[in-house]
Symmetry: C2
Subunit: 381 residues, 2 copies
């Protein structure tokens, strides 16, 4: 199978390469995209010998071109799209592990090319769900989630008739600050936030996990992936991150996916879907784990969870505004420009300032995305 890996230098990208490494030639890395990590991309080129490489900016490409004259290079938005749509070889799969709204366009172009997508880029569905679902149908391609929660749900469903689903139950570890009070949250630092108890993830997702925005985005993602109404998508706090999500059927049966927290499991599943191929990870030892806990995930403690779900329900451009505001605010927090609790304030403000528009288009989404970020960066940088 031919892989086109977007965001290859990030956390999910790297773990995708782990699966490629252990697959003994089953996967061929045809194209890759990164952002600004020259050394990492150099190593990836040496090891996987892709035919096409794109980076965020032109200067890094110029340095790489000198080293690898036989490889085709690109950069920026166009390079990313080209990495997703690079020459049709047959049995192709795009792994979209880009972080942020920038992941939407390459997904759209790859779908238009009839290419299946393994999706780690939540934003594709959060801001473009309505567009994407129409395109998937039209071009008859598969969209396979890489998020552990959505992969879990897909595995729990496993071909069951969607009319038999009563509820989807998404678990949340509670993030880095699950035991902190609102008062304590006022003074948390970037380093505190990046210290996630269970999962090793990228910085953006780790902050989203602490604010619970991540879970809100996942609810929107689940709505589009599984065609389930928001009323039937529940969330539950589960500290151990062993139960990755559950599906409740209309006969009261609940099917759950369990395992040690290891993103390579859903990546491996997405790559080999619809088959389930072997992965030599650490087996789950339930007796060693001993107990699994479930608690209410409070909207009061996590207002961004409710804000995200409400934005999802209202459709149109609201999810784009929410997501753009979150991307900008998290970026500002990671760069020490704002406090942790300001993330929430800035998103609320943005949803006030930028009104919803229910008639969406790709152009409108990209435009709104840019405008919201611009507004926030100008005001808070």
């Amino acid at each position: 199978m031919n892989l086109f890996i977007l965001g290859v230098t990030g956390n999910i990208g790297e773990q995708t390469l782990d699966i490629v490494r252990s697959s003994k030639g089953k996967y061929k890395v045809v194209s890759v995209s990164g952002n600004n990590n020259f050394e990492k991309m150099k190593n990836i080129i040496e090891e996987f010998k892709p035919l096409y490489v794109s980076m965020g900016k032109r200067d890094i490409i110029i340095r790489l071109e000198k080293l690898y004259p036989k490889i085709e290079f690109g950069f920026g938005r166009e390079g990313l799209i080209k990495a997703a749509t690079y020459s049709k070889l047959g049995n192709d799969l795009v792994v979209n592990a880009v972080v942020g709204s920038v992941g939407l366009e390459p997904t759209i172009e790859a779908i238009k090319k009839g290419r299946n997508i393994a999706l780690a880029n939540k934003e594709t569905l959060v801001i473009g769900g309505e567009i994407i679902n129409k395109l998937i149908k039209k071009h008859n391609v598969k969209l396979i989630p890489i998020d552990s929660e959505h992969s879990a749900i897909m595995q729990c469903l496993n071909g069951e008739d969607s009319s038999t689903i009563k509820n989807i139950i998404i678990t949340a570890s509670g993030g880095s600050f699950r035991d902190k009070t609102k008062e304590e949250l006022k003074k948390v630092t970037v380093n505190d936030a990046l210290n996630h108890p269970n999962w090793s993830m990228g910085a953006k997702v780790t902050i989203d996990s602490a604010t619970m925005m991540n879970k809100g985005l996942e609810v929107i993602e689940a709505h589009y992936l599984f065609n389930v109404e928001y009323e039937n998508i529940k969330t539950v706090m589960h500290r151990e991150s062993i139960v990755h999500s559950l599906v409740e059927f209309h006969d009261t049966s609940v099917i759950a996916h369990l395992g040690n927290p290891d993103m390579r499991v859903p990546i491996n599943y997405a790559l080999s879907y619809p088959k389930r191929t072997e992965y030599k990870g650490e087996a789950l030892d339930l007796i060693k784990v001993g107990s699994l806990h479930f608690e209410e995930l409070s909207y009061k403690k996590y207002p961004l969870l409710k804000m995200a779900i409400d934005a999802g329900k209202s459709k149109g451009l609201n999810p784009t505004t929410l997501n753009a505001a979150n991307e900008a605010a998290v970026n500002l927090f990671l760069n020490g420009k704002i406090l942790f609790l300001q993330i929430e304030e800035i998103i609320r403000e943005s949803l006030d300032v930028f009104k919803n528009d229910s008639e969406i288009s790709l152009k409108k989404i990209l435009d709104r995305d840019l405008k919201v970020k611009d507004y926030i960066y100008k005001k808070y940088s």
Copy 2:
């Protein structure tokens, strides 16, 4: 769908009728068998109007015949087989909820008639697994388990390729005596044993649950149902009886079936298989449950678990000897003839006295069953 319900007056039989009641005419009860409960059978006849009725002994049949001259009646072994094979109507399902080895023959005869089986009678597979699996293949019928554990496993597998299974993990509540020491077990009474913490079941199964023989029989049953080696069938103690069993796949993914303990869920699933039809039971509330616990199921504390698995592994007539000895011993315990811990001693003794024979046949199985029971009743009554 036409139902042929064996053991209709027992616990599983009654709950099967609950499902029939709530199905609004989807199921028609064609034939039923009971043992000696005249009043219960009278009520069932009035409500469900079966065409054929069989009871354990002739005297009850004579009383029933006077009341219902239009119904066809039978009794004993032949009556039971006739209930399972009664006139072919098309879209037929035999529900075998008989307790004990007596359930084997009617299953065999129903399979030979090309009839699908919803199986609550563990003994069918424990003592006849080798024979049954050949017949199922030959007559191309479906064997759908009603046990909550096996129904759970079937739902977790849900069409997955059996080559992807690494382990089947069967949960056990621990039974009525899970927190008692060996010393305390010496003086437990029948009433103590019948007080199961989670499930409402028949007397025999409740005692088997306390000795953990039940779990041993389930391991053997799982071996034949899912074609999984004994080394890959694990057991784990799970006090809450919320996780009904799990399947571990070769990619470390573990799929579990959860729900409140309610046998009508697996019964409903077996009746509607391969579809999943609605059942208005109590929804699982994970937050209310709060936590799920998993502990080792110790062979030291439950020697009958190991004895059963060893008998299963050795195949031939050993499972029949084990099962017959257990049936007789549990019967003696329920009638106050022996102490609780003697059940284990008597089974061990029987496996010593009656040697294994790897060349099995239905005749040999029924013969061994009779001889073992005879030996025990003569010695211990």
